[in-house]
């Protein structure tokens, strides 16, 4: 009886974890579920009369910018998520190797992650204008002839694939660190002896990477990629800050465009909610599809 009092009752209090989790739940209900429900309800009602309707979605689908926005978003997401993942994986494996100065390298690589979008935009806007630091640098390096300039941000006649490529590169610079952080953490937490055993049994670096490190790193990779995927579909701010509205339409840019730029327009509220729900649908489907295809759910069940 005495021991019963003095030994802690190990994880038998069923109430306490729920008490700890309830605040998060309430918070989400108040400040996430509530606005989301508002949007969902508004999206199926007529903004003027309040009648139930699907017209808002039809309006969006008939928006001449909808198809380009969808296509641009698709290109950005598929190219940038792949590119960012490959580069981030290479960098994190490099840092995992630990070389002289790898600590400093890691620190410098991480900085863009925490930079505010406004500062990122300021850096690239001052860099990419005709008189910007990038052109000056190229002239000093002798790559570009004195007095010649490259119009990085394009002219109205610049084909959109060039703008897309530029935006993907700028976005990659900002985002690679946040993917890298998760991968580096995953690598650091792998059991070292297993990897060493791989080398002991005669594995080459490539085989150890392919057959030991990557399979063990899979949950980390899934985490990093799905977070990135969700964010990549919602890219817009850097594009608007560098190019302005309308030059390279993407899905979320359309939401802001209709809410901020042309708010006087009759169709603006319908467009805003319509686009919002469509984006949310695309994001959820993409995330679920990725998690399903990469086998995250099987692991969950097991």
């Amino acid at each position: 009886m005495l021991t019963w009092f003095h030994l802690p009752r190990r994880h038998t209090t069923p109430l306490s974890p729920y008490l700890l989790v309830v605040p998060v739940l309430l918070y989400y209900v108040a400040f996430w579920v509530q606005p989301v429900l508002t949007i969902l309800i508004q999206s199926v009602r007529d903004p003027q009369t309040g009648a139930w309707t699907l017209n808002n979605y039809l309006l969006v689908l008939h928006d001449p910018d909808f198809r380009p926005a969808l296509w641009n978003t698709f290109v950005i997401v598929s190219v940038s998520v792949t590119l960012e993942f490959v580069v981030a994986l290479a960098l994190s494996l490099l840092i995992y190797r630990r070389f002289w100065g790898s600590g400093l390298f890691f620190f410098l690589m991480l900085i863009p992650m925490a930079l505010p979008p406004v500062a990122t935009a300021a850096i690239w806007k001052t860099g990419l204008t005709a008189h910007g630091w990038l052109n000056s640098l190229l002239v000093h390096a002798g790559v570009l002839a004195e007095g010649k300039r490259i119009y990085w941000l394009g002219t109205p006649r610049t084909p959109s694939w060039q703008l897309l490529a530029l935006m993907i590169l700028v976005d990659a610079w900002t985002v690679i660190p946040s993917v890298m952080v998760i991968l580096v953490a995953g690598l650091q937490n792998l059991p070292k002896d297993v990897i060493e055993a791989g080398y002991v049994f005669g594995g080459t670096s490539w085989r150890v990477l392919r057959d030991i490190i990557l399979p063990m790193l899979r949950p980390t990779i899934q985490t990093a990629v799905v977070l990135r995927l969700i964010a990549a579909i919602q890219i817009w701010l850097i594009i608007v800050l560098l190019l302005g509205f309308g030059r390279l339409p993407v899905l979320v840019e359309r939401i802001v465009y209709y809410h901020e730029e042309v708010r006087g327009l009759d169709i603006a509220p319908a467009m805003t909610t319509g686009y919002t729900v469509i984006v949310a649908l695309i994001v959820s489907l993409a995330a679920l599809l990725y998690l399903y295809l990469s086998g995250a759910f099987e692991r969950e069940a097991a």
Partner: protein
């Protein structure tokens, strides 16, 4: 800089690096006006005597322009940014308040859930884990629009508290992950040992686990800080007369096309916490991201 005789007195011209030419900026005979202009727009700190000396040189040169260069203070663009941009200092203070409140909200609510996640098995544990993903499904901009009404009803619209309530939605999920990872890294046996020696569960947490978790929690707090400090778009929608610092910088970025140096100064002032943050958290990376994966 170049000074010569102008129509109204002395014409001051400044070398423009981009146009590779002198650009005339001010024509006046008033020494005070000349000095104030130099202080306000050029970031120089000349005395009246120095200005008069240049003017006398111009008189002596007899129609020839006088070229001179004064070294600018290295932080002059920053000083100018804060002087010219109305609101910059109060906005800076508001941004700090918002960030502090976001840390308090997300770390207390998210930290409690993170502890539960690390120590207990319970129904809905998976849902809690995936909440990081599902709060990100709806674009932040879109959430901010109906939040106007919700915050107005609570009486915190256009106030720092309102914005931190919104920012915490995105931050809490990540905080749960990070704090869960941190608490997982601290063995339960330590808490149990404390309880064997007569401590209550609360005492064991506050005296043993919390001090051990402190560095990791500080890193989690910095995540919250950066999230709140950097956010711009929702702040534009949800502020009217009390913009945050990021909104002020955003406005100079859009508004002042000719004053790239000021935009850069504002941008760098905003970016400074990012560098500090990075320097601090790099050592806690594996502690923070080690435990929870989707």
């Amino acid at each position: 800089m170049k000074m010569e005789r102008g129509k109204r007195g002395y014409l001051l011209s400044v070398w423009d690096r981009n146009q590779r030419a002198y650009v005339s900026v001010l024509d006046t005979a008033d020494v005070d006006r000349m000095r104030v202009y130099m202080e306000t727009y050029l970031g120089l700190k000349p005395t009246n005597e120095q200005v008069v000396a240049v003017m006398q040189q111009v008189d002596a040169a007899g129609g020839q322009p006088v070229y001179f260069a004064w070294r600018r203070h290295i932080l002059s663009n920053y000083a100018t940014f804060f002087r010219v941009t109305r609101d910059a200092v109060p906005a800076l203070i508001r941004s700090l308040q918002i960030a502090a409140l976001t840390i308090v909200i997300s770390l207390s609510i998210g930290g409690a859930a993170g502890y539960a996640f690390a120590r207990y098995r319970f129904y809905g544990k998976n849902a809690l884990k995936f909440s990081v993903l599902f709060v990100r499904i709806f674009p932040g901009v879109a959430i901010a629009i109906p939040m106007v009404i919700i915050l107005a009803r609570l009486g915190v619209y256009d106030r720092p508290a309102g914005l931190s309530l919104l920012y915490s939605v995105g931050v809490i999920g990540i905080t749960v992950w990070i704090t869960a990872s941190i608490f997982m890294g601290i063995p339960v046996s330590l808490e149990e040992a404390a309880m064997v020696f007569g401590a209550t569960r609360w005492q064991a947490f506050f005296r043993i686990t919390l001090p051990l978790a402190f560095p990791g929690l500080a890193a989690a707090a910095m995540y919250a800080f950066i999230g709140a400090w950097n956010e711009t778009v929702a702040a534009i929608i949800l502020t009217e007369f009390n913009p945050t610092f990021s909104v002020v910088v955003y406005q100079t970025l859009l508004g002042a096309t000719g004053q790239v140096n000021l935009t850069a100064a504002g941008g760098m002032a905003m970016a400074l916490p990012a560098v500090v943050f990075t320097f601090f958290i790099r050592r806690y990376i594996h502690q923070m991201w080690g435990g929870v994966t989707v």
